[in-house]
Symmetry: C2
Subunit: 221 residues, 2 copies
């Protein structure tokens, strides 16, 4: 009989994710307090109760620990379900439920909203202290979008640079970010779900308007 730690890959992955998230939270807190050069990896390890070896197992460097790990935000099982949802249409044909399933996915991911509020506050503290890290954060966001584009492409059986895949990732990402910004804004009393659906509905009204390609102008790009 195998050890349960070996058979229950889900549990082990959750433990790994929890350790990773703890490292990131501590690294962000210390950066916000003292700046990037105001603390050592050893201090992070001591606060997290892990060894240096464990730290470098998760992150190649301090900066990477601050940015955090993409997988901690997109749970595997939710993504797998999203990908399986594309089986209703043959590969190469965009499935008719793509928008529907993207919105459902956004709502599922928002269940971790309380965690992401704390995350956002920490990141703002980091950026105030070390503004140059924003380039890495933007880079990490772009990389996550590229990863998610691969998932959408897999689901639809098309290339990741397919325009509908690209627009799905970029525009839904924007709508979700915009909605959570409104959700976390001071004085907001409306649920996230309502804000997201309002924005989706507005986007649908706009993009379902009649449209004809404008006549090209001479000698222009």
């Amino acid at each position: 009989m195998e050890n349960s730690a070996n058979t229950d890959g889900g549990l082990r992955e959750r433990k790994r994710a929890a350790t990773r998230a703890a490292i990131t939270a501590i690294a962000r807190k210390l950066t916000a307090e003292r700046g990037l050069n105001g603390y050592t990896v050893d201090e992070v390890c001591s606060e997290a109760g892990i060894s240096r070896r464990t730290f470098f197992n998760y992150f190649p460097a301090k900066e990477d620990a601050i940015i955090g790990h993409a997988d901690d935000e997109l749970p595997h099982e939710v993504i797998d379900e999203f990908i399986a949802g594309g089986q209703s249409s043959p590969p190469g044909i965009i499935s008719p439920t793509l928008l529907q399933d993207l919105v459902t996915l956004s709502l599922k991911l928002s269940e971790n909203m309380a965690a992401s509020e704390e995350d956002t506050r920490q990141l703002i503290g980091v950026i105030k202290k070390e503004p140059q890290l924003i380039l890495r954060i933007i880079g990490a966001t772009e990389q996550r979008e590229a990863e998610f584009a691969k998932d959408v492409a897999l689901r639809e059986g098309v290339a990741p640079d397919h325009p509908v895949v690209q627009m799905a990732v970029v525009l839904l990402g924007n709508i979700a970010r915009r909605s959570s910004l409104a959700y976390f804004s001071e004085g907001n009393t409306r649920p996230y779900r309502e804000l997201l659906l309002e924005n989706i509905s507005a986007a649908r009204r706009l993009f379902s308007q009649e449209f004809q390609e404008p006549a090209p102008a001479e000698g222009r790009p």
Copy 2:
């Protein structure tokens, strides 16, 4: 008879815009070369052939000169035409040509694409040298979006925080940025117009899919 410099407000405004743009180009070049504290406002003035008084007439500080002036990118007459296009529908009702006119507007603005390529290169140089300026650049972009939201709201006779106005500004802005990124990417041979229209078409395909509000989950935000 009045002096032509007084009657021709358009010419004067173009001259002002040209001076402002020259100041910004020089400030960006010097920042990229020497960093923010590696040059003085006097050096910018001497290169631009203007007085300190003229400089501060245009920009309150060096950093503002680097960011540049929003009006230099959105010509008044193009915006006025866009706003007038909303008269086809009564105030409070979103005009049926909003999407069409937004795309036409994006294409008109892209006529200055060669200038904006040079701009983009300069800004990248600035950010490499002084990464913390990216927060100001993001702030300036958000301010421009807020200004443009007011224009769209005026056109439609609704409040600037109307969801369709917000989505129009955010999503079209994103599609335009995305399209110009692809246009300027190495090895691209396709015209901007084609890239923009492909993305608009993809967004329309996505957002015109059937959609039903997902059932709410119990006890979730």
